[in-house]
Symmetry: D2
Subunit: 256 residues, 4 copies
C-alpha cells in the first residue's frame, strides 16, 4: 500500500506536532478550543475567535437526554455494557441531516447567499428577500430558522452578542438576520435557532460548511459521554423497553 | 505497511474464492447459511447442520421493534437520514453482553462444563448439579435460562426438536437440559431461553463460543434493515422524543 | 411517549410472529433468505425468488479483507477488543454510496428507466440509448457498469443465468443488458458489475431501491463477522499501523 | 414507557440548564473544558483543574493519521461519503481496551493502590513495590508505563509540571512515579506514557476511572473530525485498498 498522506499531525521519537505546533506548547499555552480551531483551520485563533468557538461547543454539548443522539447512546448502553465507545458511537450515528446537521446546510446557504450578493452587487437584504420568496413559493423550509421545542432559543442572542462584543460579527450574522426579518414579514415569526446561529458565527470566523456538522459532533460528544456514564452508574442493563403497537397483518395459525 | 494476511477469501481478475470455494458454485449450489457456515468453520455444512444454522438465524432475526437493537436503529434513523448503514450500525452497537450476548457466555459455560465432565470422568448431570449449587450459593445468574418476556420461548423446543430430527443433538443440548432440570429442582423453574438453545445447538455443530454473539448479529441485521426501511417509509424524521424527568440539582438563576 | 408502531413483528407470552407468520414455522419450514424476503416484502418468496436472493446474499458476503468494510472492521478490532459488535458495526459504517451502495442507485435508475419506457411507449433500448448519450455528454458515470478490480465479474453471468433458469429474468435484466450494449457501442466495453447485476435481479423480484444497499449490508455482515473472528484469533491487538507521510507545514521550534 | 430520568440537563421553552447552570452563562463565562468538567463532576472546575483538563484534551486530540482510531475513520470515509457522523463514529469504535483505554485501567489501578495504602497504613512506595513484584512474577503488563512509539512521551512531563505549577499534583502522580521508579529498578526503564499521565492527573482532580477512556474519546473526536474533513477534501473515494496476502486453503476448481 502506498503511504497515506496528511497535513494534520506528525511525530518523532520524542515530539508530536499538530499543524506544525509542538504538542507541549499547545497543552501549556492553549485551550481545547484552540486545538479544535488549529486542527480545522491550520492556524491558532485570536482571543475573540476562541471565545466564539468555545461558546458554540458549550452550546451544543447537551440539552436533555431525550434528544435522538443522547437517547440512542443510552439505548445502546442498555444492551451493550462491554464498550463505552460503542455507546458513544451509537449516539453520534443519530447525528445527521435531521439532527445536528442543519448547521452545515445553513453555512452552505449563507456562503452561497453572500457570494451571490457580491457577484451581482446586490445587498444581503435583496438576496434574503429573493430566497424567502422562493422558499414560500415552493413550500421549502429555510435551514436555521424555527425550532421544535424552544420558542426562543437562549443560545442565539448569546452567540450574536458575543460576536458583536469581540468585533467579529460579519456578513454571516447580517445575512441570517436579514433572512429572519424577511421570514417574519412574509411568512411568520421564526426565530434563528442554534443551527442558524452557529452557522452564521462559524462563517464569520472562517470555517467551511462541513464544519457546521462536525462542530456539533465535537461538542455533543461531551454530553454523550456524560449520558453514558450516568446510564452505567444509575440504571440497570436492559431497563429500556420501547412500547410498540403492532399494526401489521394479523397473526396466522401455526404452520399456515 | 506489511501485507495483512487472511485465510478467508481471495480473488483474481475473473474469480472469487471463499475458503477455497468458487463463488459461482456457492451462489448456484448453496444457501446463505452454507456460506455463513463455510466462512466460520472452513467447510460446508451437511444438510442437518445447514437446517439448524438457518433456524437459528431465522429465530433471532426480529421479535419486535422495542428490543434495544431495533429501537436504537430506529432512533438513529430518526435523526440521521443520510446513511442507512449508520442506522443499522447503531442497532448493532446495542448488541453486547446484555442483549444478544448471552449465547457466547453460554457456549463458554457449556464447553467448560463438558470439558470438566470428560476430564474428571463424571456425568454431565454431576457437573450441572455442581454448577447450579455454586450459582445458588453465590447468587449468580446462569446464562441461557429464564426470560424477561416470554414465559416459555417457542424457539427453544423448535430448535431442540429439529436437532433431534436431524440426528445432531449432542452433549450441548444434554448439558443445557441437565442444567434446566437442576435449576427447576433447586431454585425455580427457569426455561431454557433462545440464547441457551442456540448455544447448545451451535456447540453441538462445532462452532466456537465467540460465534454465539456473532450469529445473533448476522441474524438480527435482517430485522434491523427492515426496521430502518419501515422507519424511512412510514415515519417523519425527528418523530422520536423520549420523555425524561429531570432529577438533578435545581436550575440556578442566570449568571449565578 | 406515544407507542411506536410497526407492521414487522409482534409477540405474546408464548409466540412470536414475523409479518403474521409464526416463528416456529419459519424456523422449521424455511431458510434465512425466506425470512429476509418476508421481512422486506411482507410475503414468503417462491422457490425461484428464494434462490436468487440467496445467491445475492452469498455473492456479496466477502471477497477479500482489503475491501473498505472488511479492513475497517479489522482496524477497529485492532484497537478495541472489548466488543465484537463494535468492530462489525465499524465495518458496516464503511458501506455507503461509494462501497456497496451502487446497487441502490442502480435500482433507482432501472425503476425510472422502465417507468419512462412504459409511460412514453418506447422500448427499453430507446431509453437506454438516451441515458447513455446523456451520460457521455455530461461525463457522468452510469451505476452498475465497470469494476475497479475484476475485469469480468463472475457473479454477474451466474446471477443472470439463475434468473433465466427459474423464469424470473424480467425488464430489470433486459434494461441493464441494453445499457451495457449501448455503452459498449458508444463509449467502451464496461461489463455489468455485481451492483448492476443484483440491482437488475432485485428489481425483477419486486424489491424497492433502498433494498439495493440493505441487501449488501445483510450479506456482508457474514463476511465481517468472519474477518473479526479471524482478527481476534490470529492477530495481536494494535498490530495495524498505517504508514503515513506528513506533507503539512514544517514543525516549529518549541514554544513558537 | 416510564419516563427516563437524568440529572444532567433540562430545559423549558426559553432556557437550558446543565447541572443547574444556565447555558447562556456557561457560554459567555466559561470554556468547553469547564462544561466537560461540569457534565462529569457536577460542579465547575477551578482555574487549575480547568487548565489540566484542557491540557489532557489537547494531548490526546491527534498524533498521526496512522493510529487505529484515525485510520478507521478515514477507511470508513473512503467507502461512505454519505454521512460524516458515520466516519467519525467508526473512528470512535476503534477506541477500546487496547487503544485509548489504558487510562481507565490505570485509574482503576491507582484508585485501588491508594486505597490499599490508606487502609493498611503503608506508603505508596510500599504498595508500588508489591504491585511491581507481582507483575514481574506473573509476567503481567502494568498499565500506563511504556510506549510502542515514543521512547519518551513529551506529554507526560508537560502534564506533571502543569499539575505541580497549579498545586494539584497529588497522590495519583506520586503513585505513578513510585511505580515508574520500582519498574526501572526491578524490570527496565519504562517511562510513564500519556495514558498513565492522564490517569494520574485525572485521579488527582477527582474523576472516576471510567472517565479515563471517555476523556480520550472527547479529545480524539477533534482529531477524527479533522481527519475526516481532510479525507473528504483531498482524497478520492475508494482510494484505500489494504494489501492482503491469502494464506488459506488453495482455490478449488469450479463446481468442486
Amino acid at each position: 500500500m502506498d503511504n497515506w498522506r496528511t497535513a494534520i499531525a506528525t511525530s518523532d521519537a520524542t515530539n508530536i506536532w499538530i499543524r506544525g505546533h509542538d504538542i507541549a506548547s499547545l497543552m501549556t499555552q492553549g485551550s481545547f478550543a484552540d486545538t479544535v480551531f488549529l486542527l480545522h483551520q491550520g492556524r491558532l485563533p485570536n482571543a475573540g475567535e476562541r471565545r466564539l468557538l468555545d461558546a458554540i461547543l458549550v452550546g451544543v454539548a447537551d440539552h436533555g437526554s431525550g434528544a435522538p443522539s443522547c437517547a440512542t447512546a443510552r439505548l445502546a448502553a442498555s444492551g451493550n455494557r462491554q464498550s463505552p465507545s460503542a455507546a458513544v458511537a451509537a449516539g453520534i450515528l443519530a447525528i445527521g441531516n435531521e439532527h445536528g446537521g442543519a448547521g452545515a446546510d445553513c453555512m452552505e446557504m449563507i456562503a452561497n447567499g453572500i457570494d451571490r450578493a457580491t457577484k451581482a452587487s446586490i445587498s444581503l437584504e435583496g438576496v434574503a428577500r429573493k430566497l424567502v420568496d422562493d422558499a414560500k413559493a415552493n413550500h421549502r423550509r429555510i435551514p436555521g430558522l424555527g425550532h421544535r421545542v424552544h420558542s426562543s432559543d437562549p443560545r442565539t442572542p448569546t452567540l450574536f452578542s458575543m460576536a458583536r462584543e469581540v468585533g467579529l460579527a460579519g456578513k454571516g450574522i447580517a445575512f441570517m438576520e436579514a433572512l429572519e426579518s424577511q421570514v417574519r414579514e412574509k411568512i411568520k415569526p421564526l426565530p434563528i435557532n442554534i443551527d442558524g446561529a452557529l452557522a452564521a458565527v462559524l462563517y464569520d470566523i472562517g470555517f467551511p460548511p462541513t464544519f457546521g456538522m462536525l462542530v456539533f459532533i465535537i461538542g455533543r460528544v461531551a454530553g454523550l459521554t456524560a449520558e453514558v456514564a450516568e446510564e452505567y452508574a444509575r440504571e440497570k442493563p436492559m431497563r429500556i423497553h420501547v412500547p410498540v403497537t403492532y399494526d401489521g397483518v394479523p397473526p396466522r395459525e401455526k404452520g399456515k
